[in-house]
């Protein structure tokens, strides 16, 4: 049984740009802004950074391969830089690189930065799966459905199956999902850095145009530009930088084995990678009863259904019972475990490479008492859940931070 990462690494500075359709900002602008905020927050100088990890999915859109774009934009002084990518889980993957480097003693201070500049595409949505950006792997478009993007439909199929399994009609299911989006919009409205900042109602969600049956426009996160950064150090030197560092309690990743896509054992009503990563993360963090011990969460709400099954996959809600917790307000900002206090992917936005870092940014600020109108009372443990790909072929990263 490996020892794990608990309390070996701390975050001493973080930065996050505003997310949105940032027509006036280049990828370089976003990197610089996130980085400068993190540096100031940490109270260190650039020359103190000894290694860097860049998280980014769509290199083709004006960022480029390797982490050279990061190094040359920030003028990092000939240090090791690595670009990492795990689809939407790239942000947490950047943290992972920096975290393990610091924990291993390979360096004392490391930078993790995630950035995405998808609004340079020139059309709505993400780069096309059936066009020059071949993101579907071997065979890809030759045998897979003619997706422009596989995500809406593949998550939609999970909703169809979930509703059927737990006896929800399409209408009942959609209403439950709608409450999730309404909750996130309420929180996003309180967040000056969020892309979308308006309250919505359940009716708005139900009446929105259909994206992939049964998911509609307001069940889906949008596409945004943005960047976020974190500066990590070994835990034993953290307090020399600030009195309130945030410690990494767990950092676990689980990737699908291929069974779920090609074997009939998968029930398509949950995400196995989330569940497996959660088990390992709770073990690493020494958490025995997550429903009692987790104070707050940022989960990967690319779609409302993703958030719903994640409540169950994280073993917060019992299987099939997430609806009861949603109806009871368990995940509201004033609930037992506030979920998406910063508005989530849905409202803060989803610049893919940055999202995992943005999630930790919110947990970090909450733990330091700096979340303003969104402040949760006395949080101790925050969980981030960052999911790349789609069921049944996904990779999930879970990071648990605390004070």
């Amino acid at each position: 049984m490996p020892e794990g990462i608990k309390d070996k690494v701390a975050i001493i500075g973080m930065g996050c740009t505003k997310f949105g359709e940032l027509w006036d900002k280049s990828a370089e602008d976003l990197m610089v802004e996130a980085f400068q905020e993190a540096l100031e927050d940490a109270g260190i100088e650039k020359k103190d950074i000894q290694a860097a990890w860049q998280g980014n999915q769509f290199t083709e859109v004006n960022i480029g391969h390797s982490a050279l774009p990061l190094a040359t934009t920030l003028k990092l002084p000939f240090i090791p830089v690595t670009r990492v990518e795990n689809l939407c889980a790239s942000g947490t993957e950047a943290i992972r690189g920096a975290c393990y480097a610091v924990a291993s003693g390979a360096c004392d201070i490391a930078l993790a930065l995630g950035v995405e500049k998808v609004k340079d595409l020139g059309f709505g949505g993400l780069p096309r799966a059936n066009e020059d950006i071949v993101s579907l792997g071997t065979r890809g478009r030759v045998i897979f459905p003619s997706w422009v993007n596989p995500n809406p439909g593949m998550f939609a199929m999970m909703a169809i199956r979930y509703f059927k399994r737990y006896g929800l009609s399409i209408e009942e299911g959609k209403k439950t999902l709608a409450k999730i989006s309404v909750k996130s919009h309420h929180n996003g409205a309180l967040n000056p850095k969020a892309h979308l900042r308006r309250e919505i109602t359940v009716e708005d969600v139900l009446n929105a145009p259909m994206i992939a049956m049964p998911l509609g426009l307001f069940d889906s996160c949008g596409v945004s530009d943005g960047a976020a950064a974190a500066i990590l150090v070994r835990a034993d030197i953290a307090e020399s930088f600030r009195p309130d560092p945030v410690y990494i309690k767990a950092l676990q990743v689980a990737a699908d084995s291929g069974e779920s896509l090609m074997y009939t054992g998968y029930d398509y009503t949950h995400v196995e990678t989330t569940y497996r990563a959660a088990i390992k993360a709770y073990q690493e963090a020494g958490i025995e009863n997550p429903r009692q011990e987790i104070s707050m969460m940022e989960v990967h709400d690319c779609f409302s259904i993703t958030e719903l099954v994640t409540y169950e996959d994280l073993m917060i809600s019992p299987r099939g019972k997430a609806k009861d917790d949603i109806d009871a307000g368990f995940f509201e900002l004033d609930g037992k475990i506030p979920c998406q206090p910063d508005g989530g992917l849905k409202c803060f936005g989803h610049p893919i490479g940055a999202s995992g870092l943005r999630m930790v940014y919110e947990m970090y600020k909450q733990l330091q008492g700096k979340a303003g109108p969104r402040q949760i009372k006395n949080p101790t443990l925050g969980l981030t859940h960052n999911l790349g790909g789609q069921p049944p072929q996904s990779v999930c990263s879970i990071c648990i931070v605390g004070n």
């Binding site: 020139g122 059309f123 949505g125 096309r128 059936n130 066009e131 020059d132 950006i133 071949v134 071997t138 065979r139 890809g140 478009r141 030759v142 045998i143 897979f144 459905p145 003619s146 997706w147 422009v148 993007n149 809406p152 439909g153 593949m154 939609a156 199929m157 999970m158 169809i160 199956r161 059927k164 145009p209 259909m210 994206i211 992939a212 049956m213 049964p214 084995s257 291929g258 069974e259 896509l261 090609m262 074997y263 009939t264 054992g265 998968y266 398509y268």
Partner: protein
């Protein structure tokens, strides 16, 4: 005796009522006809329809025994790249067979059929799979557009288990300038209809049929049924009457229900006749195009052994209204439309399509010899989490397996000219699961546990590079 030992047909699901055409274009053109025409779906073409008919004809036949494939059409997908070879690959036939495309004439269906019988007679092959299909285009507003329909038929020609033996034929060849298409023509060109009817149709059909009768010493009364393409309903009955046929011998043309199906037309008509035929019947069928060919078959006792002869009927019964004329234009790529995207197309990795041709075109996966789990695509490491055996796989064909819909969605963001794009997780009978597009069905008629079967379709066209991608989609089972 050489002849037909099996047959299969395929008519696409959509029907365009000719009123919809005149509603759209009546202000421009007075061309009209009663009834409706069969219109191939956006993901169908002559290749896919022929493959579907071929699969129907091969039911219960050991595919390893197919000796050759002849394909007839005037609307091949490629000018250079053999369709028969693609069909043979999709059916997973042996590599060491003869294949050929017969094209460029409306009579190529019967030309290919006669050649197939010649090949069997000459012992060049034990049997030949003959399939014919057409997906012809008439210019919007033209009588051709109104008349043409899409469809396919297939026969196994052999000397074993023959249900209808080829007794004789008579061919005439005329470079008659009625229908033509040059290198870059999309639409069939024609000339004055009266000229075509009176100098061509009304002369060549009778010459071929009476030539056949004279050659074999037969008269009209010796035949149970006669059929040939119907370019003109009145001319059709006049020709039959003048040849001495009684009304009860004349096969009902299909122009009113599916339209005139080009090279496939005489083949489809022959199947229509076979559906009702009795042992001992002589069936006379003729093709028309650059002359004409008349063939006659004698039905044998073997036909009584055929359990289900609804070869064509089940497709005539399967229909859905294509209620909007503009949809037809878009399906056939005649109307440039804004799909909302950049319309760039990813490169097709051709070496991959060759290496994985059985996986892609024949829908071959693998079955783990260790635990027996079928899996698609083929896996060297078994997908069964309790197994994980390495390199213990055997070939496993999924194209003929029925399946059940495990989950599905209707995706409005996906790339389709017939939105929404419907796809689902398909669980195959016997094992195996994968995600496939669905087609020939409406979103509100789909639910979990729906039964489906697989159908070869044109999945995409890489237009900038002249490559068509064929792959399998799931369709509701056609009973």
């Amino acid at each position: 005796m050489v002849g037909i030992s099996a047959c299969g047909a395929y008519i696409p699901r959509y029907r365009l009522n000719r009123k919809a055409i005149s509603n759209a274009l009546g202000w421009l053109s007075s061309a009209s006809l009663p009834g409706e025409k069969a219109v191939a779906n956006f993901d169908e073409d002559s290749l896919t329809m022929a493959a579907a008919a071929a699969i129907n004809s091969l039911k219960g036949f050991n595919r390893a025994k197919v000796g050759g494939v002849y394909f007839a059409t005037t609307t091949a997908a490629y000018r250079e790249r053999e369709t028969a070879a693609i069909i043979a690959t999709s059916l997973d036939l042996r590599q060491n067979i003869r294949t050929a495309d017969f094209s460029d004439s409306l009579k190529s269906g019967t030309v290919a059929l006669l050649s197939a019988c010649d090949s069997v007679k000459a012992r060049s092959a034990d049997n030949i799979l003959l399939c014919g299909a057409d997906c012809r285009l008439g210019k919007p507003g033209s009588a051709q557009e109104i008349t043409f329909g899409d469809g396919a038929a297939a026969f196994i020609l052999s000397n074993k288990g023959v249900i209808a033996g080829l007794e004789g034929s008579y061919s005439i060849t005329c470079d008659f300038p009625d229908f033509r298409r040059a290198e870059h023509d999309k639409f069939v060109r024609t000339i004055e209809n009266r000229f075509v009817r009176e100098e061509g149709y009304a002369k060549f059909i009778p010459e071929a049929i009476s030539g056949l009768m004279k050659k074999y010493g037969l008269e009209a009364k010796d035949f149970a049924r006669v059929a040939f393409p119907c370019l003109d309903a009145r001319q059709y009955s006049t020709i039959c009457k003048n040849l001495g046929f009684q009304p009860n011998q004349i096969q009902q043309p299909l122009i009113g229900s599916i339209g005139e199906t080009g090279a496939a037309s005489p083949l489809i008509l022959l199947i229509a006749m076979l559906e009702e035929a009795k042992p001992g019947d002589n069936l006379l069928v003729a093709s028309y195009g650059n002359g004409a060919e008349a063939l006659f078959f004698k039905v044998t006792d073997e036909i009584t052994k055929v359990k289900d002869r609804r070869w064509l009927k089940k497709y005539l019964d399967r229909r859905a209204e294509l209620d909007i004329y503009e949809k037809y234009l878009v399906f056939r790529n005649l109307l440039p439309v804004d799909t909302g995207y950049d319309e760039e197309t990813a490169k097709t990795e051709l070496p991959l399509t060759w290496r994985e041709r059985r996986t892609i075109l024949a829908l071959y996966g693998s079955r783990c010899k260790h635990c027996g789990t079928p899996q698609y695509p083929p896996q060297r490491i078994c997908v069964n989490p309790d197994c994980g055996a390495v390199d213990e796989k055997e070939d496993y064909c999924f194209s003929d397996k029925r399946a059940v819909l495990f989950s599905y969605t209707a995706d409005h963001t996906a790339s389709s000219v017939n939105p929404p794009l419907i796809y689902g997780m398909i669980d195959f009978d016997g094992g195996g699961r994968f995600v496939f597009e669905l087609t020939d069905c409406e979103p509100d008629a789909i639910d979990i546990d729906m039964r489906v079967e697989m159908s070869l379709r044109r999945k995409y066209s890489d237009e900038p590079r002249g490559i068509h991608g064929y792959f399998w989609k799931a369709i509701p089972i056609i009973e």
